[in-house]
């Protein structure tokens, strides 16, 4: 086993280190999510960012990342357990559970965008539209009487198929021209939903709750004698979807698929010279990405139980893009971290009300200016470091 590692780095032995860090994260998340009044929210935020700053300035971040890299499996399990604990602890807090579910669903959609943009470099300014196609497919199919699991899967499939409409222009164009194609699609999609009576028009349509093997996800239930929120079930479903997508995307990244995609992104001409079929990889990435967005959208629709065109506007596509940029293009842990920030922080700052959007935009702007690679930039591939 060999990989580059400065000797002064402190590596906590194995899984224990991961568990410790996960515990710290869990503690912070619980406190932060429970915080209600503005002073405590501020205190947690500053303490959190101070910790990050300390870690970033000292060598701590190196030891953290090398611990994680060395014990990847353990870290993965720790993170899943952290999420499970969070869900368990907030079992009757509907609002927090809904936020957690939203984070996981958005993260899944952004993972899809990551395959397109982060790996293959296919520009997509209409991620929310494909998310919306999944949502609407789920709504229409469940109301047509299809079992909800099938509707969920078909939501993803429909999104992927609709993406084929854009394949030709997306393949033929590049750079800003491709940006325009997908942007036009995003603008078109919302107007289309609003004017077409068949999809419920501007006022939207209700979506039947998810039912799996006779289990109604829309109903509260008791958990060890305690009344638990129905969102617990949705959160578990979201977690399952996120874990599957995460595993899938990571496999993809590390296989020769990912290698080819990276090559296409880095230099189309060079990779074509090496016999990589650019069109094939772009199609693959675009379709896989839309599939994930669509699946996430379908689950989100069921969790929301009511959808309307305004949820899938161009601004929402921009939100997904800014999550990806914020997290660090191509870094899947970064995606999850950034989704957490983007979903939770504006909610915790409802106090600033009408100034929310202004401050959000300004923050993203500064982020792009001063940390253009995102919070957790993707590292160059390292070989041999993996057990």
């Amino acid at each position: 086993m060999y990989y580059h590692q400065p000797s002064r780095d402190l590596v906590i032995p194995g899984p224990a280190g991961c568990a410790l860090m996960a515990l710290a994260l869990l503690a912070w998340c619980i406190l932060f999510l429970k915080a209600e009044d503005q002073t405590s929210i501020l205190v947690y935020m500053t303490s959190g960012s101070l910790l990050i700053l300390i870690a970033a300035l000292s060598d701590l971040h190196k030891s953290i990342s090398s611990t994680i890299i060395a014990n990847e499996k353990a870290w993965d399990y720790c993170m899943v357990l952290t999420m499970l604990f969070l869900i368990l602890i907030f079992n009757d807090d509907h609002y927090t559970l809904f936020l957690l579910g939203t984070i996981m669903v958005y993260a899944t959609a952004v993972l899809g965008l990551n395959v397109q943009l982060g790996y293959t470099g296919v520009i997509n300014f209409s991620a929310a539209s494909f998310f919306g196609i999944g949502s609407y497919a789920a709504a229409m199919l469940t109301s047509a009487g299809l079992p909800s699991l099938l509707a969920l899967l078909l939501g993803g499939v429909f999104a992927a198929l609709s993406g084929c409409l854009l394949l030709l222009p997306v393949l033929r164009t590049s750079g800003h021209y491709a940006a325009l194609v997908t942007m036009a699609f995003a603008l078109l999609f919302k107007v289309f939903l609003e004017v077409s009576e068949w999809f419920g028009g501007p006022q939207g349509i209700p979506v039947a709750p998810l039912t799996l093997f006779g289990l109604d996800f829309g109903a509260d239930f008791t958990l060890g004698g305690m009344e638990a929120s129905f969102y617990v079930k949705y959160d578990l479903a979201c977690l399952a979807l996120l874990c599957l997508s995460f595993a899938f995307v990571r496999r993809l990244e590390r296989s020769w698929f990912g290698l080819s995609m990276d090559a296409v992104r880095c230099d189309e001409t060079a990779s074509a010279c090496f016999g990589i079929d650019i069109a094939r990889w772009k199609i693959a990435a675009f379709t896989i990405g839309n599939l994930l967005s669509g699946l996430a959208g379908a689950l989100y629709a069921m969790m929301l139980s009511y959808i309307s065109p305004a949820n899938f506007a161009f601004a929402d596509s921009l939100l997904f893009l800014s999550i990806l940029l914020l997290g660090g293009m191509g870094n899947i842990w970064g995606v999850i971290l950034a989704t957490g920030f983007v979903v939770v922080i504006p909610e915790k700052f409802q106090v600033i009300q009408e100034y929310r959007y202004l401050i959000y935009a300004a923050l993203v702007l500064f982020m792009i200016l001063y940390r253009p690679m995102g919070l957790l930039p993707r590292k160059t591939r390292s070989y041999g470091g993996l057990p």
């Binding site: 940006a179 194609v181 300004a362 792009i368 200016l369």
Partner: protein
Amino acid sequence: MELFLQFCINGLMLGMMYALVAVGFTLFFGVLDVIVFSHGDTVMVGSFAGLSMYWWLNAVYPGLSPEWTVLWIFFAAVAAVVAMGTLAARFMIMPLRKAPPLNTLLATMMLGTVLREAIRLFFPDGSNPKPFPRLLPDWAWQNGNLILRFDNILLFSMGALVIILVYLLIARTRLGMAIRAVAQDEEAARLMGVNFTLIVMTTFAVGSAVAAFAGVMNGLYYNEINFSLGLLLGAIGFSAAVIGGLGNIYGAILGGFIFAFLQTLGAVVLPFASAYKDVFAFGSVITLMAIRPTGLIAEPSSQRV
């Protein structure tokens, strides 16, 4: 026939507006290879700057003749927006030059949001539409259903004049030569003694001035402005510049008029609900991009490897 002519007149006015916005996009893309998406909102700021000037003039020099008022409004709008545009270029766009194009695109979109929200929140009662003064003579020539207004002709010719001036500036002057040199090859231009920063900032000043002009023109034409007018205008201006072919002034003009034509056609000719006209216009743009992936007047697509 009258109806057809009337559609043409409206379409031409709309096209001129889009072309003016698209010219800005194309200029910025030319020198820096960036898309400045906040350009639509810059137009909006221009019209609000003009309105503020009008209010101020009204308070300080009541009874000023309309001609002078219009001139002052244009002056204020151009001054304010040029200052804003060059500052944004220097401190936001230039540092982002080396970043991936996506970063610039997203950053400028966020800048647009900041401008929009700032006007909405900090301009007096900014979330509501504001009346823009009627300062041009309202002579009109009417024949049945056809109405030809003098102010339309005036605005149209002023718009055309501005575009021609920009063209002459780029094509015929030393400054224009420097701009084109930077656009072709930044390094070579620097080696030839072109002050790169100065040229980029000048280009942004020119583009912003055009945007300010479009903003005031928008106000004078519709007599109503609001904080969100830049959002769609930006998207359409960008579309127009891209359909025409980025980096080419002719392309921007062509794209502007094509988009106006598509929208008018969508509203008038579509047999089913006219509400689909934006679907139609943007759908056509996508189709057009599939057929001509680098715009109608394509930039030379040789690639340095």
